[in-house]
Every structure is written in C-alpha cells, then in structure tokens.
Amino acid sequence: MTDVGTVGREPLVALDHVDKWFGQLHVLQDINLVIGRGEVVVVIGPSGSGKSTLCRAINRLETIDKGTIALDGQPLPQEGKALAQLRAEVGMVFQSFNLFAHKTILENVMLGPVKVRKQPKADAEKRARELLDRVGVGHQAEKYPAQLSGGQQQRVAIARALAMEPKVMLFDEPTSALDPEMIKEVLDVMVDLARGGMTMVVVTHEMGFARTAGDRVVFMADGRIVEENTPEEFFDNPRSERAKDFLSKILKH
C-alpha cells in the first residue's frame, strides 16, 4: 500500500499489524497505518467498518488484541500513570462532546492543564480564554455546557483538547451529532487547526472537509483498510469496488 501522506514526514503515530476482536467480531484486521507529523488523515467508511474503534485505539480508550501502536516512537503503555501521561499528549474530540456538565465552559478547558499538567490557575485561565476566543465561544466562558448549542459545545470540546498542547488530535465523528446548520462552525475550526499544522486523525462523513483539509483519505470497510489515497484521487478515481460502491451511495443526492 502506498504511504501517500507520510512521504517526507516524520512518523508520529504508527499502527503495526493491529487486530481487535469484539467477541466473535473481528473489528480491526491487520491494520497498518503510519501518520506523519503535521498530517491530516481522514478516515471514512460505512458504519461498523471499525473506523471509530481505530480512532479510539490510538489513545487506548479501546485496547487492542494484537500488534502495536506507537506514538512518537513510544509504544502505548498499559493502564496506569504512564498511560494517563500519554493520553495527555493526544487530544480527543467525541461525537457527543462529553463536556463536564457540572463545570463551566472555562473550567472545562482549565481542568486538564491545572490537574494533569499542574499549571498555575492564572496561566491556565489565560490560555483557556485565548483558546475559547480562538474557537469563537470566549463570551460564553462562564456558562454551563447545557446552556450552549451543540456546535458551541463541540468547539469548547476542541478547545479543551487543545489546552493540553497535544501532539495529535483525534476526532471521532465530531459533527455527526450536530444539526446541519452547526456543522460548518465546527469544521471551520478544524480546517484552521489543520492549516496551523496540527496532526489530525478525523473519522467523519464530511467529504468536503476531507477535500479541503485532508492530506490523505483512509477508507475502511469490515475492519480493514481497503484503500488510501489523496482526497482528490480517492474521490475522483476510487480503485476498489468497495470504495466505489460506498461513494456512489453517499454522493448521489
């Protein structure tokens, strides 16, 4: 398989012969994937293809049964302090935002830096406010998550992840739970991030985002990586039958 995006890039995330089963179901089958520093990899595929599991395996929210995953050359540690430290280096944005409901927007963003990174509160607050301004919700800092729209909550979730200064950001279907008119505001933030050189793994159905910001598309089906290519090549000339079939189903409307 060609390593489209990693040419000339230093590898940051490396999945090597990764397998995972959910009981009888072989959700990840011999996954080999190298993500370069600064690369934006968009993972697409039909539901149940294992793309979310792949994304969650990179910060070990899902354990794997075989193979290795390494971040910056270091294999993922087992449970415990070392794993927590690694997760602090990997930002994650969830489909359902998962903001801490009992904390204000500002506190949501400050919690990691203060408790995990042990930053002084004043510094963490300054940085948190900068990030909230950057994602366009600075004026909502004192509100609680439930008082914000979905799009705003997801932008806060992105700010919360960025506050940890992660090496790589994982996005697990970040716009799938949003009303259509809120998708763009979240994608805009993500495109900005991509342009700023952030390494990103994005599981999404937003083909527009893949074309605009993606360096590489990884197409998964039935637990395997079926095809990977540049977004232009993948969308215009899919090589596999599976990808052609998938694209014909989602693009013909």
Binding site: F100, V116, A146
Partner: protein
Amino acid sequence: MNEVFSNFDLVLRAFWLTVQIAALSGVVSLVLGTVLVAMRIGPIGVLRQFATTYVTLVRNTPLLVVFIFIFIAAPNVGWFVHTPFLLKGVIAVSLYTSTFVCEALRSGINAVPVGQAEAARAIGMTFSQNLAHVVLPQAFRASVPPLGSTMIAMTKNTSVAAVFGLMEATGRMRFFTNRHADDAVGILIVFAVGYIVIVELISLASYGLERRWRAAR
C-alpha cells in the same frame, strides 16, 4: 407528661446524644461509603471483590447484629475493649450505613454519562483524578435524594444504641415509660416529635442541596 417536662433537660441531653451519634456516623459513613464505591468501580480486582463482598454481607445483616458484634463479640476477642460507648455506637452505625451510602452513590455514578469519564481519561486524568473531579461531584448531586433517605434511616437507626446502654433519645424514652407506664402515650409523642424535628432538618438540607445543584449546570 409532667414528669417529662419537669425533667426536660434529660430529654434534651438524650436528643443531643442522638444528634452526636447521628452526625458522627453520618460523616464517617459518607467517607467510608465513598471509599467503598471507589473500590467497587475501581480497576483493582481484589478491592472490587472486597467491597462487593463487604456490601453484600453487611447490608444484609440486621443492624442489631452489627451492634452485637461491636459491643459483645469484638471485646471478647480483645477489640474495642476500652472504646467509649458513644464511639462504639458510631462504629456500628457507620459500618452498617456505609453500605447504603455506597449503593446510593453507585446509582449516582451510573447516572453520570460514560462519555464524560472517557473525556476525563482522554485529557490524561488518572482514575482517582477522574473520580475526584468529574465522576463523584456529579454522582453526589445525582445521589442527594437517596443519600438523604439513607441519612434519615441512619438517624432513626441510632435508637438501636439504646439497647446497649447509651442514653440517647430512645434510651431516655424507655427510662420514662418504665417509670410512668400510665403516661406512655404522652411520653411517646414528646420523643416522636423530637425525632421528627431532626429528620425534617435532614430533609430540608437534602431539598436545599438538590435545588442548589439543579440550578448550577
């Protein structure tokens, strides 16, 4: 009745002891219950097993039997021999009540969306940080109504201590009814009102917390 009112300082002192046992046991059982629930949902198998067994065992034992263990059985093997009665009562009530606190908190923890605990892990929090800053604060809020009921039941359960020589409210009530059996109804009413006042205070506190926390989210 007259007997009760002319000795009202005895009544007040008895209820003061009830309040002391209840307050101390309340604090101890909330702490113990929190520790138990942390063990129960924690990543360490041995602790999980221990906490589960403890809750099953103690929650299914009548409080009177727990008291017998602390006041009679334990001193026979050399434990709690010189422990003051008040403290022994607190230990017995706390050991028992902590299992109910644990279960009330566990129901509260189940009410916290799993995604939030995942998000906390994803920003690098350890298990205990996750519990302390994300899961338990919300679990406590969700558990306020059942915890309130647990605290009310605990307050009334302190009356078992009367059997073991503690002159708390129920003990004092028995002292009066033994001497003035003809006045039993009046005496009962006085002491019942006392319990009602204490329990209502706990209810009010519980409602207050519920309202305050419902607003802030």
